[in-house]
């Protein structure tokens, strides 16, 4: 919550400029990656990580809205991702033969994933509204687990008679011969179309970034931050706490849902395992946010990328991998908060380099 200082003290046009730089860097990285793939310079392992990097970044950025901007600790972010993933994969698989244009189908899937997660976010927002701090953390943690476990016992299938639904097993669906099972309990959704592309993932990451940054720098964003900084004072100037808490929850959930859509359409088998949607996942997203700096949107993305790549690159160390991972976490913490490091980062920030270059070219002219 302290790390946003540098962002807020600058003027509006300056923050807009730094956001444009961030988007520029994302696009540049995307172009470099595409070139490397085209020239065969990228390993298969790395290529497989490109989409996960995007959805982890989206998850980190969206959770930052709840944790850093609204100031509420949520441990159920993977639950929203799970809903987005299953709702969209359900749609895509059932519509696989109806909508053959994969672009339109994926676009609709994204909307469905976002909306279903957002609706759940509104619902959860209402339920947990009275809770704060530890209590909220516990309830959201439970929520994440409940979502995952409910989906694990869900059986839904289609046949000529319509939709069949069960929470027992696939046999009790009583499908006709022409029927097909869409969600098969603990086996999840098999064979949803792989519509996710790296390009789509990067586009969605940029959209997430723009929406959340624009939200923060608008009237509603200020209201959300006012609630974080001082609830009583916010109420005293007439800010509707309920409304803006739920708004922040819903937008945060919607983008977690989008990340879920990317996740679901990047795999052939979508299963709600503890590893993919359990609390470990929620905690990992939270680590991205804390490490990147609460309220620091760009930091969330950087942390998500570093901490996703790191375990992969440390594979050669085998058993020592997680030990090194922990050490890197600590070093990153220090780099984040140490005043000397902060001063160094400011001095060599991309923005300053751009400004310096500009003044140099001006002088020459």
């Amino acid at each position: 919550m302290i790390n946003m200082n540098s962002n807020k003290t600058r003027q509006l046009n300056k923050s807009t400029r730094s956001n444009l730089i961030t988007i520029g860097v994302i696009v540049a990285v995307y172009v470099v990656c595409q070139l490397m793939i085209a020239m065969g310079l990228m390993s298969n392992l790395m290529q497989g990580l490109l989409v996960p990097l995007c959805y982890y970044s989206i998850l980190a950025v969206s959770l930052n809205l709840t944790v850093g901007i609204l100031g509420e600790l949520s441990l159920g972010h993977a639950g929203f991702m799970c809903i987005g993933a299953f709702a969209s994969a359900f749609f895509s698989k059932s519509m696989q033969n109806t909508i053959t244009n994969s672009f339109i189908r994926f676009f609709l899937a994204i909307l469905i994933g976002a909306v279903s997660a957002a609706l759940l976010g509104v619902f959860i927002g209402f339920v947990v509204l009275r809770l704060r701090g530890d209590y909220l953390a516990i309830v959201t943690l439970a929520f994440g687990e409940i979502v995952k476990n409910v989906i694990n016992v869900l059986y839904i299938g289609f046949d000529s008679k319509g939709v069949h639904f069960s929470i027992k097993d696939s046999m009790s669906l009583n499908l006709e011969e022409d029927g097909r099972i869409i969600i098969n309990g603990a086996k999840g959704i098999v064979g949803a179309p792989n519509d996710t592309t790296f390009t789509a993932a990067v586009l969605l990451l940029i959209i997430t970034f723009i929406v959340i940054v624009n939200l923060i720098h608008s009237r509603s964003g200020r209201a959300i931050m006012a609630i974080r900084d001082n609830r009583i004072a916010a109420e005293s100037v007439g800010i509707d706490i309920t409304k803006f808490k739920i708004l922040a929850f819903a937008i945060s959930a919607a983008f977690a849902g989008v990340a879920g859509v990317l996740y679901a359409h990047n795999l052939s088998n979508l299963v709600a395992t503890p590893k993919s949607f359990g609390y470990n996942m929620s905690i990992m997203i939270l680590v991205f946010v804390v490490l990147g700096g609460m309220g620091n949107i760009r930091g969330s993305m950087i942390a998500a990328i570093i901490l996703t790549l790191l375990p992969e690159y440390l594979r050669f160390m085998q058993d020592y991998r997680m030990l090194i991972y922990a050490v890197v976490l600590i070093v990153m913490m220090i780099f984040n908060w140490n005043p000397t490091c902060i001063a160094w980062r400011k001095k060599y920030s991309l923005q300053n380099i751009f400004v310096a270059l500009k003044s140099k070219t001006k002088r020459r002219a």
Partner: protein, 252 residues
């Protein structure tokens, strides 16, 4: 014209009658002081007036409208704004943003137009910036507009609370110990500021204060509260020379 009429206001916390049959009438444009020894219930009165506590008995009428059981947000919209004894700023936001949050309800655009940066966003934000800078100028905070409110010196933080309250365009402004912790020079400046905002914004003011110089200097009427009930009420010279009041403050 009465701006605020309070009749028989009372609240108990457990067995303690914190405020009892509190009645006051404040005329439009008046500057009223609320004083009393520590624990007399002054801040509780403010919390009752702003809906933080719901009164057990009594009635609060603001400018002809009964606001007795409304919540804090509705009361603010009805026209009461306040500052706090222990400063409550939005510390991680700039001075300008603090004031702009005060403008939240009077200057609106939807969340969607904020996210999509529609014309209404730019129009309203521009207007908000102008209004906020105007208020900051009156309180002599315009030079600090872009610094973090937590980094303001103490006296200016108190002023910023007033600026934020003013931004909600109130009819009645409640100031809870605005001069607490200020040095004499700052207090003098604050007295000028309070007089100035009253003239400029035509706002009615009720203030809690322990600094008798300030109270005697600018308040037109004074209400003395002791153990939650009225001890004296009237013109400053009468009230401050009242033997009962002196006894409550200084003892026998």
């Amino acid at each position: 014209m009465d701006m605020l009429t309070v009749k028989n206001l009372g609240i108990s916390f457990g067995g303690l009658r914190a405020v009892d049959s509190f009645s006051i009438t404040i005329k439009k444009g008046e500057l009223y002081g609320l004083i009393g020894p520590n624990g007399a219930g002054k801040t509780t009165v403010f919390n009752l007036l702003t809906g933080v506590y719901k009164p057990d008995t009594g009635q609060i009428i603001l400018d002809g409208k009964n606001i007795t059981r409304l919540n804090t947000i509705e009361i603010n919209k009805a026209g009461i704004a306040r500052t706090f004894q222990n400063i409550r700023l939005f510390k991680n936001l700039s001075v300008l943003d603090n004031v702009k949050i005060g403008l939240h309800n009077d200057h609106r655009y939807s969340t969607a137009s904020g996210i999509l940066r529609l014309p209404s966003y730019f129009r309203t934000e521009k207007k908000m910036n102008e209004v906020a800078h105007e208020i900051l100028e009156v309180l002599d905070l315009d030079k600090e507009a872009n610094i973090l409110s937590a980094n303001l010196p103490y006296g200016k933080q108190r002023k910023l609370e007033i600026a934020r309250a003013l931004a909600t365009n109130p009819k009645l402004l409640l100031l809870d110990e605005p001069a607490a912790g200020m040095n004499p020079a700052e207090t003098d400046e604050l007295m000028e500021t309070i007089t100035l905002i009253r003239e400029k914004y035509g706002v009615t003011i009720l203030l809690i204060e322990h600094d008798m110089k300030l109270v005697a200097g600018i308040c037109e009427k004074i209400f003395v509260l002791n153990f939650g009930t009225q001890l004296a009420n009237g013109l400053p010279e009468e009230v401050l020379n009242n033997p009962e009041v002196i006894k409550a403050y200084l003892g026998e």
